[in-house]
């Protein structure tokens, strides 16, 4: 069995747990990935979260299937993992191991401080399912789409407030942005249409080169609940938050926070 002793921040896992009920945890010698592949069953939503193991663990040991395929893929419920990690936040030391109990488990073992001489040990056995190698190709890093517009997002709290209010009115939201740092969120119903305009957001330098009119808006209509779910999970303001839009195709959200990167794909509805 593979050993992964560590001291892990539970913030990332909590964020992931708000996004999806189950996801794939991929372990490689240098990284951890939380992956949700964009299948029809998820409504086409995809997620890719990458962490550098060095920043979270004091000690990290892993052995993949073979030296050629040095990785482990596990299907886990991030909610279970997040809860387990939350209870051991004030522990003296925490270890996470992949074990085999009645089924494959990620065992979170923590030593808790006590007033007595012996320390209290708490273990949480989080059941996981090991994903066989033949299915690994489903969990490859998604290719960055050939987007039309790339723009920095407004503060997430503000965005969340707007989206929350709009959700009460309509199920579909139009996200528009251009290379001039302008972004609009629009909803339209029989009775009312609401739009919120953001200006001077800035565009990331690696965005598509200026072709034609920078005022030209790229848009995509998405299911508002998916966007809301993404925003609900964000507890801290990321260092960088960006949005790439492929016109009427997909909205690609990227959050960078310290050494964690989170990508979220929301397909456009017809």
């Amino acid at each position: 069995m593979k050993n992964v002793p560590c001291l892990l921040s539970s913030g990332v896992v909590t964020t992931i747990s708000k996004l999806t009920k189950t996801c794939v945890l991929r372990l490689t010698p240098d990284n951890l990935f939380f992956i949700l592949s964009g299948k029809v069953t998820n409504g086409g939503v995809g997620m890719w979260c990458e962490l550098l193991q060095n920043n979270f663990f004091d000690e990290y040991q892993m052995e993949g299937v073979s030296s050629e395929f040095n990785q482990i893929c596990l299907e886990v419920s991030p909610e279970n993992l997040s809860r387990a990690l939350r209870t051991v936040q004030c522990a003296k030391s925490v270890k996470i191991k992949l074990t085999k109990k009645h089924c494959a488990c990620l065992t979170v073992a923590a030593e808790l401080p006590t007033l007595s001489s012996a320390s209290r040990v708490v273990t949480h056995d989080v059941p996981v399912e090991v994903i066989p190698r033949r299915l690994w190709q489903e969990f490859k890093e998604p290719v960055m789409p050939d987007f039309d517009v790339s723009i920095y997002l407004p503060p997430l709290k503000m965005l969340k407030n707007v989206v929350d209010r709009m959700k009460n009115l309509s199920n579909f939201l139009v996200i528009e942005a251009n290379l001039n740092g302008e972004m609009n969120l629009k909803i339209q119903t029989d009775l009312v249409s609401v739009s919120t305009h953001f200006k001077d957001l800035g565009n990331p330098p690696w965005g598509p080169s200026q072709r034609g009119d920078p005022e030209l808006l790229a848009e995509a209509t998405v299911d508002i609940r998916k966007l809301q779910q993404f925003l609900v999970g964000q507890q801290v303001n990321p260092t960088k938050a960006m949005c790439n839009i492929v016109h009427q195709n997909v909205v690609h959200l990227i959050l960078l926070h310290e050494d964690v990167s989170l990508q979220y794909f929301i397909p456009a509805v017809a």
Partner: protein, 416 residues
């Protein structure tokens, strides 16, 4: 609940309180963190119950008629002297009819809603019984001649006493409530039941998973407490007891508010566990039902015995690992080392799966009554005695027995 020197058979009786005790009881009852005080008049004394909504749904009040009209007066005077609030209680209780009624706790809490305001403005609290109209009248005499009257309707109630004997329990331990609260915080709030496994030097606390299907999906949490974390740890019988965590949490909340150490009396699976909180003016006994022996046998025979056997794993590498290994190899006995099932059946018929009972109707002062239907007793004796105590075979009559339990999901096995 009042403190007395002599042992009590049931929770129903009490001894006379000295004036000092009464004062202290009232003060304790009206303490900052206690709920409203409710008084219970008995033939010789007054019982004050600091009550918390988390625990009780009803409150018992006992009155004796004084006047022919059936009304009686108790005056609870709150006077402030210097810095300490001293309370004086005057009452006169002749011997007479035993009267019991119950009130919804929320109603009583409304009367004593804000303790801070009460202490500042209320001079006298008068509680009267109007038997004709079936109500209790709480009159708060406040400053400036203000009178607040609350009429609370009550219901008649039966007196249900839990039958338990703390001294006959094999296992006793006492801990500061903080230790226990820190233990249960590791378990999800939605968890129904928790299992305590006891050995000479340690106590394991695990979440209880009811069936197979859940076991592969649920997070299994285990916490180990060493004997020196307890004020007192005396284990004579190594076994595992399962009881309701939700109720336990509520009781711990109460214990924490009193700041008193919690003593737990445990016996065999099936016997109730008693949580006791005691000081000079207060004695609280909370009785919880536990899952019975046959339940454990069913579990172990299904082969899903993760609780009992812990395979040695590769935790060898550090100090913490060594500690864990030590934990693994110490004795963690299960029902297989307890008395053979047939004998247990004779001595104590298994309590019914307590989920079938409703707590609210049977509560009294926070105690629950683990009553069992008589026909089950007969069955268990009958089946239990016929078969030899081998684990395999003994599962069968008990599985048949499970037919009686309303929410059993086991397949019925044929008794040989």
């Amino acid at each position: 609940m009042c403190r007395d020197g002599r042992k009590r058979e049931s929770a129903g009786q009490s001894r006379p309180l000295s004036v000092q005790d009464r004062r202290r009881a009232v003060r304790g009852a009206s303490g900052r963190r206690a709920g409203p005080a409710v008084c219970e008049l008995l033939s010789f004394g007054v019982r004050f119950l600091p009550v918390r909504a988390a625990l009780l749904q009803q409150v018992r009040v006992l009155f004796f008629p004084v006047f022919p009209s059936g009304s009686v007066n108790i005056t609870l005077t709150m006077q402030k002297g210097d810095q300490n609030a001293t309370f004086l209680c005057r009452y006169s209780i002749p011997r007479g009819l035993n009267f019991r009624c119950k009130l919804a706790i929320k109603s009583v809490q409304t009367v004593f809603r804000s303790l801070a305001t009460l202490e500042k403005t209320v001079e006298k609290c008068h509680i009267g019984l109007d038997e004709q109209k079936d109500r209790l009248t709480f009159t708060l005499h406040c400053k400036h001649g203000l009178l607040k009257t609350h009429n609370l309707s009550y219901q008649d109630s039966e007196s249900l006493e839990a039958v338990f004997d703390k001294d006959s329990c094999a296992n006793v331990f006492r801990a500061q409530p903080r230790v226990l609260v820190d233990t249960v915080v590791h378990f999800p709030t939605s968890l129904e039941e928790v299992t305590l496994t006891l050995s000479d030097e340690r106590m394991w606390v695990r979440n209880h998973v009811e069936d197979e299907a859940e076991r592969s999906k649920a997070v299994l949490t285990e916490l180990c407490l060493a004997a020196d974390e307890f004020d007192h740890f005396d284990i004579k019988l190594h076994n595992s007891i399962t009881f309701c965590l939700k109720e336990f949490r509520g009781l711990l909340l109460f214990a924490e508010s009193t700041g008193l150490p919690v003593t737990m009396y445990l016996d065999e699976p099936g016997s109730p566990v008693v949580l006791s909180v005691t000081d000079s003016v207060l004695e609280g006994n909370f009785v919880l039902a536990t899952l019975s022996d046959d339940h454990y046998l069913r579990q172990s025979n299904r082969g899903a015995d993760a609780e009992q056997t812990r395979p040695p794993d590769d935790f060898m590498n550090d100090d913490m690992d060594a500690y864990l290994i030590a934990m693994d190899s110490s004795v963690a006995p299960g029902p297989s080392t307890a008395d053979p099932p047939s004998l247990a059946a004779f001595r104590k018929p298994p309590a019914p799966n307590y989920r079938t009972r409703t707590y609210s109707e049977e509560e009294e002062d926070g105690e629950e009554d683990p009553e069992r239907p008589p026909d089950k007793k007969f069955r268990s004796l009958f089946f239990g005695s016929v078969l030899p105590p081998s684990p395999r075979r003994s599962s069968q009559p008990f599985t048949t027995q499970e037919v009686l339990a309303s929410d059993s999901e086991e397949d019925e096995a044929e008794a040989d």
